[in-house]
Symmetry: C2
Subunit: 110 residues, 2 copies
DNA sequence: ATCACATATTCGCATCTGCAAATATATGCA
DNA sequence: TGCATATATTTGCAGATGCGAATATGTGAT
């Protein structure tokens, strides 16, 4: 395989896919797709301690997947690129099809 | 956030996104998007030991992201769903835009 | 049955990663 | 300045994960 593509894939993983490798982070991205939020709002929405949310936000920030903007005492987080949600929705479609295939298979085994 | 959506996100991560949380597995998916391959061919394409490839293939198989089919002594692996590559390409676009934004920012700081 | 080849699995180890709790660093206001 | 609120970071630890090397299993051919 092309060395250049391999390098690009490594970077893709390090910069983006690595950000998706935790369910709480995916949930944060979906929560933000619904509108910008500050840390406390995210903590409440996901029913998760604030330090945990902050840690995940740091990872998403470092990867450029969310944008932070200070607004007085609060820091408002915004989804950096809607295509991230588009990609996740595509993967959800794949998941949905797999699940229905599996249940069809299970039915066939009766 | 809706409990049902949260459950779906957890499953999405466990079943699909978890499969993307390693650069070698992403590289395997791209290699297969170019056509089905057996294990040895993948090992050569990615310049990676065969046991390592097999271990990653097992993870991708368990998640339904690739399909295995025996053909004599060989086992041919095939990408299960092209939308996985579509999603990865979307994320690559996001990455590309981020990189250009960052370099523009770097230029602005000169 | 046996040999060669293709693939899968196990083992031991080092690394990474997430969490909770505590602590530190802003910011706004009195 | 001092206090309250919002966010970030550190620490210690438990569990997950990847790797190389060795080994096991499966397949086809002689």
């Amino acid at each position: 395989m092309d060395k250049k593509l391999l390098r690009e894939i490594n970077q893709l993983h390090a910069e983006v896919c690595g950000g998706l490798s935790d369910p709480k982070r995916i949930a944060i991205l979906y929560a933000l797709s619904d509108g910008s939020k500050n840390v406390m709002e995210l903590a409440e929405t996901l029913d998760t301690p604030q330090p945990t949310i902050s840690r995940h936000l740091k990872i998403l920030r470092e990867r450029g997947m969310v944008v932070a903007e200070r607004k007085g005492a609060n820091i408002i987080y915004t989804l950096a690129d809607k295509r991230i949600i588009k990609a996740l929705d595509l993967l959800r479609e794949v998941l949905g099809d797999q699940l229905s295939k599996r249940s069809a298979l299970a039915d066939a085994m009766i």
